[in-house]
C-alpha cells in the first residue's frame, strides 16, 4: 500500500509495567480473601477454649474432646447421615425415573411434565417445606381431608422418613438433569443396536439405557448426598419439633443464633462438617473426571428416537401427573392460596376465608417490608457485583497468561465445599474479629459479601462453558493487532460474553433471593431478608405471614425466570 504513509507496526512502545498485572492480582487477592475469610476463623475458633474475640482465649484441642464426649452427638451424626442417605435414595429414584420417562419415551406431555418436575429446583427447600406443611402437615389440607374420611393419616412429616421425602423431592431435579444430559449425549445407535438385535423396550431400558446413565446417577447421588448433609430448612422445620437433630440444626442451636453460644463446640462441629463435605466434593470431581461439573451446560438438541410405551402410555402419564401435582404444584399452589386466606381447611368454604390481611400485615409491619426490600437490594445489586467479579475471574482463568490462573481457578471453585451454615458461622467470626468494620456487620453488605463467596462456583459454572465456546482466535487476533490484554478483554471478550453474563446474573439473582442458610447467622435488626424473616415468622407461628412472604418469593423468582428465558433466551439448565 504505497499511498498510505504514517506509522507502521506496533501501536506504541510496550509499557514497562503491563496494566493487566494489577487487575489480575487484585481480582485474585479479592477471591482469596473472600474464600479464606469464613474458613480460617472457623478453623482457628475450633482450637480455642474461649470465643475468638476474647483476648484471653488459649489454644486447645479440648473442643474436639468435648464434641466427642457430647452424649447427644453420635445420635446427631447418625441422624445426619441417615437423612442424607434417605434423601439421596428418594431423589435418585424419582430423578432417574423422570429422566427416562420424560426424556426417552413417548409419554404424552413429557415436555410440560419435565418443566413442572424442575419447579422445586428454582425454589428454596424452605418454601417447599412450608408448602408441604400446608398440605400434608398435621393441620394440612389433605391430612384433614383424609382424617374426615378414613381416620388418622398414615404419614408423618415430623420424622426422618417424612423429611427425607420432602428433601428428596426438592433434590430430585438435580438427578433428573444430570441423567437427562447424559442420556442426550450418549450415542443413540447403542440403544438402536439393542433393539435391532431383538431386545424389547423395557429390556433395552434396563440393560442399555440405565447402565449408560450410571456415571450420571453416581455423580448426582454424591452431589445430592452432599446437599442432604448441608440441608438446614427441612430439619429445622420438621426435625426440631420432633426432637430429631442433625448436624446443621445442632450448629444452628449452639452457635451465634442461640442466647448462650458455645463457640468452641460450634466451630469444631463446623470444621468437622467442612472436612466431610470437602471429601465428598473431591469425590464428585473424581467421578466426573473434573470436566462437566455443572448442570448449566447446554444440552444437545439431537435427541435419540423415543421408546414406545404402548399400553402403558396413559397409566404412566397419570402416575407422573399425580407425582408432579402432589409434590410440587399442589404444595406451592396451596401455599400461595394460604397467603390469600386467613385459614385453610377442607371444612370451611374458601369464600369465607379469602382475605388480603396477610399482605396488609406484611406492608404494615416494618420488619417484613424491610425484609422484602433488603432481599431485592441484596439480589439486584449483590448479583451485579458478584457477576462482575465472576466475569473477571472467568476471563483471567480461561483467557489470560496470568501466572496464578490455575490456583485462582481452584480457590474460586472451593466454596462448593463450604456448606451455607459453615459459611454463615465463618463470616460471623470474620466480621467479629476484624475491628473497624462494624458498619458492614449490621448492614446488608455482609450478606452480599457472604452470598457472593458462596455462589462464585455456580456463577463460574454459568459463564465458563459459554466463554470456552468463544474461539481463542478472536482475542488472539486483537492481541496481534496491538491491543493489550485489558483492551482485548474490554473491547472483544466482554461484548461477546454478554449472554453468559446475563445467565450468570439470573442464576445469582435467584440464588441470592432465596438464600437463607448463610443469612440466619449474619443478619441483624435492619438487615433482614425474606429467608430470615420466613424462619422468624415461622418460629412465631404466623403461618399467614410466612405464606405471604413465600408467595412473594415464588412470584419474583417465577417472573425472573420467565423474563430471562423470554428476553435473553437464557438457558438455566441443560
Amino acid at each position: 500500500m504505497s499511498t498510505t504513509t504514517s506509522e507502521t507496526g506496533a501501536p506504541a512502545a510496550p509499557a514497562r509495567f503491563p496494566r493487566e498485572t494489577p487487575i489480575q492480582y487484585a481480582t485474585t487477592l479479592l477471591v482469596v480473601v473472600l474464600v479464606a475469610a469464613p474458613l480460617l476463623p472457623v478453623l482457628y475458633q475450633s482450637l480455642l477454649d474461649g470465643a475468638l474475640y476474647d483476648h484471653d482465649a488459649r489454644l486447645t484441642l479440648g473442643n474436639f474432646v468435648r464434641l466427642a464426649q457430647n452424649e447427644g452427638f453420635p445420635r446427631i451424626l447418625w441422624n445426619t447421615f441417615l437423612l442424607a442417605g434417605l434423601t439421596t435414595v428418594v431423589a435418585q429414584l424419582f430423578g432417574t425415573l423422570a429422566a427416562i420417562l420424560f426424556g426417552r419415551t413417548d409419554l404424552p406431555g413429557a415436555r410440560v411434565l419435565g418443566e413442572l418436575f424442575l419447579w422445586p429446583l428454582y425454589l428454596s427447600a424452605l418454601v417447599l417445606s412450608f408448602g408441604w406443611y400446608t398440605i400434608y402437615g398435621p393441620a394440612g389440607y389433605v391430612t384433614l381431608f383424609w382424617q374426615s374420611l378414613f381416620g388418622d393419616a398414615p404419614w408423618n412429616l415430623y420424622s426422618l422418613g417424612g423429611m427425607a421425602v420432602i428433601a428428596g423431592v426438592s433434590q430430585a431435579p438435580l438427578a433428573y438433569l444430570y441423567c437427562l444430559s447424559s442420556a442426550g449425549m450418549t450415542d443413540p445407535t447403542l440403544e438402536e443396536a439393542a433393539r435391532v438385535s431383538g431386545a424389547g423396550t423395557f429390556r433395552t431400558l434396563w440393560r442399555v439405557t440405565l447402565p449408560l446413565m450410571m456415571p450420571a446417577i453416581a455423580y448426582s447421588a454424591v452431589l445430592n448426598f452432599t446437599i442432604g448433609l448441608e440441608l438446614l430448612s427441612v430439619p429445622l422445620i420438621f426435625g426440631e419439633p420432633a426432637g430429631i437433630n442433625v448436624l446443621t440444626t445442632f450448629l444452628f442451636n449452639i452457635s451465634a443464633t442461640s442466647p448462650r453460644p458455645d463457640h468452641g463446640l460450634a466451630a469444631t462441629a463446623a470444621a468437622l462438617m467442612l472436612i466431610v463435605i470437602c471429601f465428598l466434593v473431591w469425590l464428585q470431581g473424581r467421578l466426573l473426571g473434573n470436566t462437566r461439573r455443572f448442570v448449566t451446560l447446554g444440552g444437545k438438541a439431537t435427541r435419540p428416537r423415543p421408546f414406545r410405551l404402548g399400553g402403558l402410555r396413559w397409566p404412566l402419564f397419570a402416575a407422573a401427573l399425580v407425582y408432579v401435582v402432589m409434590t410440587g404444584v399442589a404444595p406451592i399452589a396451596m401455599l400461595i392460596l394460604r397467603a390469600f386466606t386467613s385459614f385453610l381447611s377442607p371444612m370451611i368454604p374458601l369464600a369465607d376465608v379469602l382475605t388480603l390481611d396477610n399482605f396488609a400485615a406484611l406492608l404494615n409491619e416494618p420488619v417484613y417490608a424491610r425484609a422484602v426490600t433488603n432481599s431485592f437490594l441484596v439480589s439486584l445489586v449483590g448479583a451485579a457485583l458478584a457477576t462482575a467479579l465472576i466475569g473477571m475471574v472467568a476471563l483471567i482463568v480461561h483467557r489470560s497468561e496470568f501466572r496464578f490462573r490455575g490456583p485462582l481457578h481452584y480457590v474460586a471453585l472451593f466454596p462448593r465445599a463450604v456448606p451455607g451454615v459453615v459459611a454463615g458461622i465463618g463470616f460471623f467470626y470474620a466480621f467479629a474479629l476484624i475491628p473497624g468494620i462494624g458498619g458492614i456487620r449490621n448492614s446488608i453488605w455482609i450478606l452480599v459479601i457472604a452470598f457472593t463467596m458462596r455462589f462464585i462456583p455456580a456463577g463460574l459454572g454459568a459463564v465458563a462453558p459459554m466463554l470456552l465456546q468463544v474461539s481463542p482466535d478472536l482475542d488472539r487476533a486483537a492481541r496481534v493487532q496491538g491491543a493489550d490484554w485489558w483492551t482485548t478483554t474490554r473491547r472483544i471478550m466482554m461484548p461477546l460474553m454478554r449472554p453468559a453474563l446475563v445467565a450468570c446474573y439470573t442464576i445469582l439473582f435467584i440464588s441470592f433471593f432465596k438464600e437463607y442458610s448463610t443469612a440466619i447467622f449474619l443478619f441483624a435488626p435492619g438487615s433482614e431478608v425474606i429467608g430470615t424473616a420466613l424462619l422468624q415468622t415461622w418460629v412465631q407461628g404466623e403461618v399467614g405471614v410466612v405464606a405471604g412472604l413465600a408467595a412473594i418469593q415464588v412470584a419474583v423468582i417465577a417472573v425472573c425466570i420467565t423474563t430471562a428465558r423470554a428476553i435473553f433466551g437464557v438457558k438455566l439448565h441443560g
Binding site: 500500500m1 499511498t3 498510505t4 504514517s6 506509522e7 507502521t8 507496526g9 506496533a10 501501536p11 506504541a12 512502545a13 510496550p14 503491563p18 474461539s471 482466535d473 478472536l474 488472539r476 487476533a477 486483537a478 492481541r479 496481534v480 493487532q481 496491538g482 491491543a483 493489550d484 483492551t487 473491547r491 472483544i492 461484548p495 461477546l496
Partner: protein, 365 residues
C-alpha cells in the same frame, strides 16, 4: 517492511519437540511458505513469530527488533510486535461490522478520525469489499470474510505479514480464485510474508521460497523449482506432487550415469549427480508425468529406458485414465489418455528427471 530472522528455534510440548532447531532467514519483501503435513511444526513456528506461543530456545528478530531471545529472556508480547496475522478461522469479531473490525487496529494506534476513515476505505477497496463496510461478519461468505480479515491486517501496515492457512476454509473452486487473487495482491504489496499451508499448489504458485517441514525440522529449503525438481529426500519428493518410488540396486555406478537394477532384474539407466556404490540399495522416484507408455518399437536409448510392467488396475478419472502398474514389486501410478489394452505394458522411463535416493527410504507411496 522488514526482514525476518529465525535462529535455532525450539518449542517443546512436554517431551515432544514440536519445533526442533529451525533457522530461516526471510529477506525484506520475500514471500516464504512453510509447507508440511499437520503436526510438522509449521503453525507452531508461525505462532512463535506472532507471539502467541512462547518458544523455549532460539531467537526471532524482525527488522532489527528482537521479538524473542531465549538466551537473554527477551519476549515481546504479541501486541508489542506489530505483526499482521490472518487466522485460518479469519477471527472476525462477530459483534462488530466490517468497518469496525477493520478500524480497530487504527483506533488502537490513535489515528485521527478522518485518517482512519480514509485508510479503512482504501484497504477495503484494495480487497474489493468496500460495498460491505456496514455488514456483520455472519452476513458474508467465507471468501468475503477472508478478504476482510486480510484488510484488517493490512490496514496498519504490519512489519511482516503472517498467513495461517488462509485458504483452507474455502471450497475448492473458491480456493483457486482466491489463490490467483492473493498472488496478484502479493506482487502489488511486496510485503515480507510468511505463509503456512499444507497445500503444495498454494506453496508452489505463491512462494519465492518454500520451507518443507517434517517432524519439527526443516526437510528442505529452496525455490519452488528446487523443491519440486530436486527434492532433498523421499519425504519431500512424496509430499510435493504425486511420486512413484521404485526400489532398486546399483548395478553399475558411474558419475553422470548409473545403471540400476529393479526388483525383477530389469535394468534402467538414470542420470545421477552423486556417485553411487556398487550394489547399494537405492530408491528411484518418478513423477507420473515423467513416465509414459512406450510407442511401438521404441527401445532403450540415450534418452530413456523401456521396461516391461504388469497392469493391475485401470480407472477413468475424466479425460484421462489412471493405470496402476507393478514393476518388479514396486507399485506405480501412471496417467494416460488411452488405457493399455492387455495385462502387460511397455513403459518408457526418462534418463533425466528420475531422482535417486540412497538407502530405500520408507515412504508411503
Amino acid at each position: 517492511m522488514a526482514d525476518l530472522l529465525i535462529e535455532g528455534l525450539v518449542k517443546r510440548f512436554g517431551d515432544v519437540r514440536a519445533v526442533d532447531n529451525v533457522s530461516i532467514h526471510v529477506a525484506d519483501g520475500e514471500f516464504v511458505t512453510l509447507l508440511g503435513p499437520s503436526g510438522c511444526g509449521k503453525s507452531t513456528t508461525l505462532a512463535a513469530v506472532a507471539g502467541l506461543d512462547r518458544p523455549d530456545e532460539g531467537r526471532i528478530i524482525v527488522g532489527g527488533k528482537t521479538y524473542f531471545d531465549g538466551a537473554r529472556g527477551t519476549y515481546l508480547p504479541p501486541e508489542a510486535r506489530g505483526c499482521g496475522l490472518v487466522f485460518q478461522s479469519y477471527a472476525l469479531w462477530p459483534h462488530m461490522t466490517v468497518f469496525d473490525n477493520v478500524v480497530f487496529p487504527l483506533t488502537l494506534r490513535k489515528v485521527n478520525a478522518a485518517e482512519r476513515k480514509r485508510r479503512v476505505a482504501e484497504v477495503l477497496a484494495l480487497v474489493e469489499m468496500e460495498r460491505f463496510a456496514d455488514r456483520y461478519p455472519h452476513m458474508l461468505s467465507g471468501g468475503q470474510q477472508q478478504r476482510v480479515a486480510l484488510a484488517r491486517t493490512l490496514v496498519y501496515q504490519p512489519a511482516i505479514l503472517l498467513l495461517d492457512e488462509p485458504l483452507s476454509n474455502l471450497d475448492a473452486k473458491l480456493r483457486d480464485r482466491a489463490r490467483v487473487w492473493l498472488a496478484e495482491l502479493r506482487t502489488r504489496l511486496g510485503l515480507t510474508t510468511i505463509y503456512v499451508t499444507h497445500d503444495q499448489i498454494e506453496a508452489l504458485s505463491l512462494s519465492d521460497r518454500i520451507v518443507v517441514m517434517n517432524g519439527g525440522r526443516i526437510a528442505q529449503l529452496g525455490t519452488p523449482q528446487d523443491i519440486y525438481e530436486r527434492p532433498a529426500d523421499p519425504f519431500v519428493a512424496d509430499f510435493i506432487g504425486t511420486t512413484n518410488f521404485l526400489p532398486a540396486k546399483v548395478a553399475e555406478p558411474g558419475v553422470g550415469t548409473a545403471l540400476l537394477e529393479l526388483g525383477n532384474g530389469q535394468r534402467i539407466e538414470v542420470a545421477a549427480e552423486r556417485a553411487q556404490t556398487q550394489g547399494a540399495r537405492v530408491t528411484i522416484a518418478f513423477r507420473p508425468e515423467q513416465m509414459r507408455v512406450a510407442t511401438a518399437g521404441e527401445v532403450t536409448n540415450g534418452e530413456g529406458s523401456v521396461v516391461d510392467a504388469r497392469v493391475l488396475t485401470r480407472s477413468y478419472v475424466g479425460g484421462r485414465w489412471q493405470v496402476g502398474l507393478d514393476l518388479g514389486g514396486g507399485p506405480l501410478r501412471l496417467e494416460t489418455e488411452t488405457p493399455p489394452a492387455g495385462d502387460a505394458v511397455r513403459l518408457w522411463l526418462p534418463r533425466h528427471g528420475g531422482i535417486v535416493f540412497r538407502e530405500s527410504g520408507h515412504v508411503a507411496a
